[in-house]
Homo-oligomer: 699 residues x 2
Amino acid sequence: MDSTNEDALRRELAEKQTAIAAQADVVKELKAQGAAKEIIDATIEALKALKAEKASVERRLQIVILSNTAYQNGNAFINKDAFRQAVVNTLERRLFYIPSFNIYGGVAGLYDYGPPGCGVKSNVLAFWRQHFVLEENMLEVDCPCVTPEIVLKASGHVDKFTDLMVKDEKTGNCYRADHLLKDFCKDKLEKDLSISAEKAAELNHVLAILDDLSAEELGNKIKEYGITAPDTKNQLSEPYPFNLMFQTSIGPSGLSPGYMRPETAQGIFVNFKDLYYYNGSKLPFAAAQIGQAFRNEISPRQGLLRVREFTLAEIEHFVDPDDKSHPKFPEVENLEFLMFPREAQVSGQSARRMRIGEAVSRGIVNNETLGYFVGRVYLFLICLGIGKERLRFRQHLANEMAHYATDCWDAEIECSYGWIECVGIADRSAYDLRAHTDKSGVSLVAQEKFAEPREIEELVISPVKKEVGLAFKGDQRMVIEALEAMDEREAMKMKAALESHGEVRFRICTLDKDVTIKKNMVSISKERKKEHQRVFTPSVIEPSFGIGRIIYCLYEHCFYTRPSKAGDEQLNVFRFPSLVAPIKCTVFPLVQNPEYEQVAKHIAKLLTTAGISYKIDMTGTSIGKRYARTDELGVPFAITVDSTSSVTIRERDSKVQIRVTVEEVASVIKEVTDGQSTWTDVLYKYYTPAPALVSEEDE
Amino acid sequence: MDSTNEDALRRELAEKQTAIAAQADVVKELKAQGAAKEIIDATIEALKALKAEKASVERRLQIVILSNTAYQNGNAFINKDAFRQAVVNTLERRLFYIPSFNIYGGVAGLYDYGPPGCGVKSNVLAFWRQHFVLEENMLEVDCPCVTPEIVLKASGHVDKFTDLMVKDEKTGNCYRADHLLKDFCKDKLEKDLSISAEKAAELNHVLAILDDLSAEELGNKIKEYGITAPDTKNQLSEPYPFNLMFQTSIGPSGLSPGYMRPETAQGIFVNFKDLYYYNGSKLPFAAAQIGQAFRNEISPRQGLLRVREFTLAEIEHFVDPDDKSHPKFPEVENLEFLMFPREAQVSGQSARRMRIGEAVSRGIVNNETLGYFVGRVYLFLICLGIGKERLRFRQHLANEMAHYATDCWDAEIECSYGWIECVGIADRSAYDLRAHTDKSGVSLVAQEKFAEPREIEELVISPVKKEVGLAFKGDQRMVIEALEAMDEREAMKMKAALESHGEVRFRICTLDKDVTIKKNMVSISKERKKEHQRVFTPSVIEPSFGIGRIIYCLYEHCFYTRPSKAGDEQLNVFRFPSLVAPIKCTVFPLVQNPEYEQVAKHIAKLLTTAGISYKIDMTGTSIGKRYARTDELGVPFAITVDSTSSVTIRERDSKVQIRVTVEEVASVIKEVTDGQSTWTDVLYKYYTPAPALVSEEDE
C-alpha cells in the first residue's frame, strides 16, 4: 500500500480546504465592503483556481486509494473485484463449485465441489500423497471427525477456540466483532476523502492491531466509532467469545458431548505411542492425515476461503528436541523464494528473495527440519501451478505465535482477497504430546538408549514428613506436594536460603498462601547417578495445508482471458498444469459423421484403458466453440478427429497443433500428462508446420 | 443352518426325556412293591441305557448347533470366533486399525485407520474411481457432511431414520431392542438343549421376522421372554424410537438445526438440475460421491462392521423411467455368480449360480441398468480379492424394500459375522427427486424433445366453481382440489357414474368425509393435443458401497496362516492382490553391511520415483523373521539385497524367488504390481531353479 503518498495527498487536500475557506471569507468581506468589481472578480477567480486544485488533489487521492485495490494479472493491472467476479462466474458456471443446498436457499460457508472441482481436488490430494507421504515414507492415518470432548479439552479447543461476536440488540443477528471494525476502517479509508492524515493513520493502526484486541478493547472501539449492525443500524451488544466448534452428542444417552474436529492433528497426537512403536521406536518420523475439518464460523464470507467445512492435509513430524537437523536438507537448501521474516515486517520492509539454506544458517528459520518443510511446501505449491511471485513465506510475529511454539511460517498466496494463509508450518515444541500426556495419564514419550551408560546429576528433594506434619497438620499433603514440585532453580535457591537463614517463606499455590519452611523440614541435594537411556517428549513440526484455499488461489493464478478470433468476446482459460487438470483431454469428431464418431469412441476406449480422464463431445457445435468450452475447464489437450487414420492434438495455451496416428494418440497424451515428456518434446517429434490442421475459425 | 436335523434331534431328545421319566417311575414302583432283585436290576439297566441314548442325542444336537457357528476357511472348517480373533489380533497389532481415542478409553463405534489400513482404503477408493467414475464417465461431486434440517426432512431421515431403543430402568443404560431379543433367541437356541422343537421353531421364527416388528410387538416379546438389561438384570423400558443422526447447530444463533449426513446421496439429488445441465441436458448419466457418513448407533458392536462414522461411495444413475436399457449390458451379461432371488428365499431354497443376462431376461432382475450395475459390482469386488463363493447378490423381500423402490439387490459377503450387506443396488424410482421437488419447490425434472410433435390424449377435469361453491360453501376449495387430483382411473369411473346416475359419493381425504358430487359440478373429458416434448422425473438407480465393510470382509477373505519352517508357530499372511496391498514391496539388505545398505537405499529411491510404496528394513533381524513381518502386512513382494549387482524378489504366497539386476528391479515390481504383467509372466522370464537364492531358514 502506497501510504506515504496517500498521507501527503490527504494533508494537501486539508490545506486546500482551509485555503478555500479563507479565500471564500475574503470574497465575502470584499463584497460587504463594496469593493471594486475588478478586485472582487480577481478574488473569485483565485477561489475557483483553488477549488480546481482541490478537485485535482481529490482525483489523485482517489487513484492512490483505488490502486491499492487494483490487481496485477500477468502484466496487466485490473480491478480486483472485477477480476474475482470473472473467475468466480466461470467457476460457478462450469460447476467447479456450487453453493451447497442451493435449491433450499443454501447455507453460508458450505460449498460442493462439482465434477471439475472434484477432479482438481483429487489430483491435488494425490500429488500431496506422492510428494509428502510416499516421498518421505510418512505414516498415514485416517481418524474420525466425531471427537469426544476430553480430547479437545486437552488440546485447548473447548476453552480457547473462539471468535468474538456481537449481536444486533433487536434482531439477534450475529456478527464477528473484528470484521465489523475492519469493514468500518477500510470503508472510511477508501471512501471518505475528507478524513485527516492523522485519522487515516489511526484507522490504519487499528487495522494492524485488530487481531490483538481484547473483547473489551474491541467493544470500546465499536462504541467510539459508533458502529451499528450493518443490516438494521441497530445497537450492538458487547463482544463475547463464541466457540467455533460444531457440538454434538455421542451415543443415545445425551451424556457424552462431542465435537466435529476443528483440525485433524489431534487424531495423530493421541496415536503417538502406537505410531512410534510401528516405526520401530525410532525418531524422527512423520505421520500424515487428510480429512474433513469443521469450524462453525459466525458469518462466513470471502467465498471459498472461509468456509464451515473444509479438507485439511496435516503432517506431524516428530523429532528429538535436541537434534532438529534433517538429512535431506541439502536437497532443498538452494531453493530461493520470497521470505518475509519477523524483523522485515516489524521494520516496514517488504518480503525479499532468500535462499532457504541461508535463512536456516543465519538463524532466521529456527532449524533445518522446519526449513526442509518450508522448501518442500514451496516445491509442492509451484508444481501445482501457484505463481512464484505471488507466493511468500511469512514468519509469525511474536504476538501471533502460541506461547509454546518455537517458530512458525505461513505460506501465503496472493489473490484478489490479498495475501492468504494457505499452509502453516510450525515448530510446536512438545506442547501437544505433553497436553495429552497430562490429560490422559498415558505417557507419550520417546526413549534414546545410550550406547554407554551416562552419569547425570539429579535433583533430590526429600520433605521430612514428620516435621511438616507437626507444623502444617491438615495442610501437610499440599505443602509436601509443593516442595516436591519445585524445579531446579527454585530448589537450589531454597537450599541456599535455608543454609544461610535457617528458614524461608514459601508460596503454596494450591492453598493460596505463604508458609514458613524450616531447615529440618526438607533436605535438598544433587546426586550423581548412571542412566542407560534418555526419556523425552518429542518436538513436533507441523505443516498444515488448507486444501480448499490452495485450490481457490490456484484457480485465480491459472485464470486468464483472451479475445476470440472474431474479437467480439473474451474467452476464459484455466492454464492448469496437466498434474492438476481435472480432465486431461477432450475428443471431438470434427464434423458429425458416423465414421469419425466411431474413431472418437475407439480413442475414448484407449484413453480409459490408459487411465486418462477425458470428455467426449459429439455435438455439431463448431470446433472453435468446442475448444473454448474445454479451455474454460482447463483441459490441456484436445484431440480432433478429422480423418479415420490420424488425428490432431491441440495444446490449450499455445493453440499449436500436431498430427498423430489414431493408435498412438493415447500414449502421446499419457506421456505428456504423466510428466514423462514435455509438450516441447512432443512438438519436436511430431510438429509439421504445414498444411494447416484444424482451423479454429470461429473462436 | 441344518434346521431339519436340529428339529428331529430336539424331538428325539424330548422323547428320550419322557421315556427316562417313565422308566424311572417303573423302577420306583417296582422297588416300592418289593419286586425281585433281578427284575429291578434289569429295569435299572434299561434306564441306564435310555440315559446313555439321551446323552448321545445331546452330543449330536450340540454338534449340529456348533456346526452352525463353524466356518469354512479354504478347505478347513474352524471355529468362527477363533478365526475372527486371529484376524482382528493381527489387524490391531499391525495398526491396520486402532480403536479411536484409545488413550482416553476409546469411544464405541469409532476407529482410526492406521498406516496399512489407510493404504488399503486409499487403494480401494482409487480403484473404485477407476472402475466406476472414469470407466463410465460419471460426474463426481463432493458435498459437505454438515446438512441443514430441511434437506433431511425432505429425504425422510428426520422422521424415519430411527432404531428402537430400550433403557435400563435404573441405570439409564441404552440398548437396541431388537439386538436384545436377537441375543436372547440365539442364546437359547445355542445353549439350551432342553427346549422343545416347537419352542426352537418359535424362536427361529422370531429371528426371521425381527426386522418387521413394531415397537409394541418388540416390547411384548421382551416382556413375554422376561428379557432384562444384560449388565444389571434390571427391568427395561418400553421400546421407543431413537433418531440415529448426530445433531448439531449451524451458525451462532442456535436457530438453524443441522445434522451430520447419514448418507452422501442427498448431496447429489439436490444438485440434480445443475448436473443434468452439465451433462448437456441428456439422460442417462450418473453422479458419484465418496465421503464420510455418520450414524449415532445406540450401542455399536461387530467391530468394523457397525460404526458411527464411515466412508460411503455412492452412485446415482439417472435414467428415463420408460427406458432402463443399458448400452454396455452385453459386456457383463455372461458373468455368472451366486444370486439369491426373493422367491428362493421365501421358498427356503439357497442362493444359486446364475448368469446375470438370464436373470434380467427372465425378469428376476427388474431391468438392464440395474443388472449392469450388479455385474459391475461383482467385477469390482472380485478384483479387490473377495472370494467368489462367499459373495452373493440377495434380492430384497417385498417387506424389506421401501414402498417406492422398484427392485433392490444387496451384494452380501460372508464373513465370520455371517452374510454382511456391503453394497446395496436399488432402483429407487423417482422417489428422491420428487421428494426434493415437493419440499424445495424447484422442479427436478428432465425433458425429452420429440423429433416430431406427438399427439397425446390428456385428461381434463374442470370443476364448475359456482355449483361446487353453492353446494359446499366453506369446503369449496378442498372439494375442487380433490376433484382435480383424481387420477385417470378414478376420473373415468366418476364420469361413468355421473352419466348413469347423475350423482356419486366422493371421499374428500382432506376433510375426512364423503360428499355427493352432482353431474353439473364437474366436467370430465379426454382431449387430444400436440406435445413437443415430454417432461418427466427421472428414475434413479443407486449402487451404494460401505467401504469399511468391504475392507473388513476383504481382510477376512485374504487372511490365512501357515506353519513356520521350524513348525513351532503359525505365521499370519494377508494374500492381498497387488491392487489392494498397502505396501507393494519391502527392501532388505540380507546382512547389515554398508555396501548392501547403500544398494538398498538406491533401490528405495528408484521405487519412489516409480511411485511404488515400499518399506525398508535395515534391522539385523533374520531374513525369515523379516519375511514373516511383511507377510503380516500383506506385502506381495520382498526385495532382498544379497549382492551389489543383483537382488532377489520373493513372492509372498508361493515364496518363490527370482533374481534380477539392481537397475531393473523397480521396473519389474512396477510391471507386476500395476497389472501389466502377472507374476507367472515374470517367473517365466527370470526364474532359475538353482542355485538356491535367499534361504528362509528360520521362518
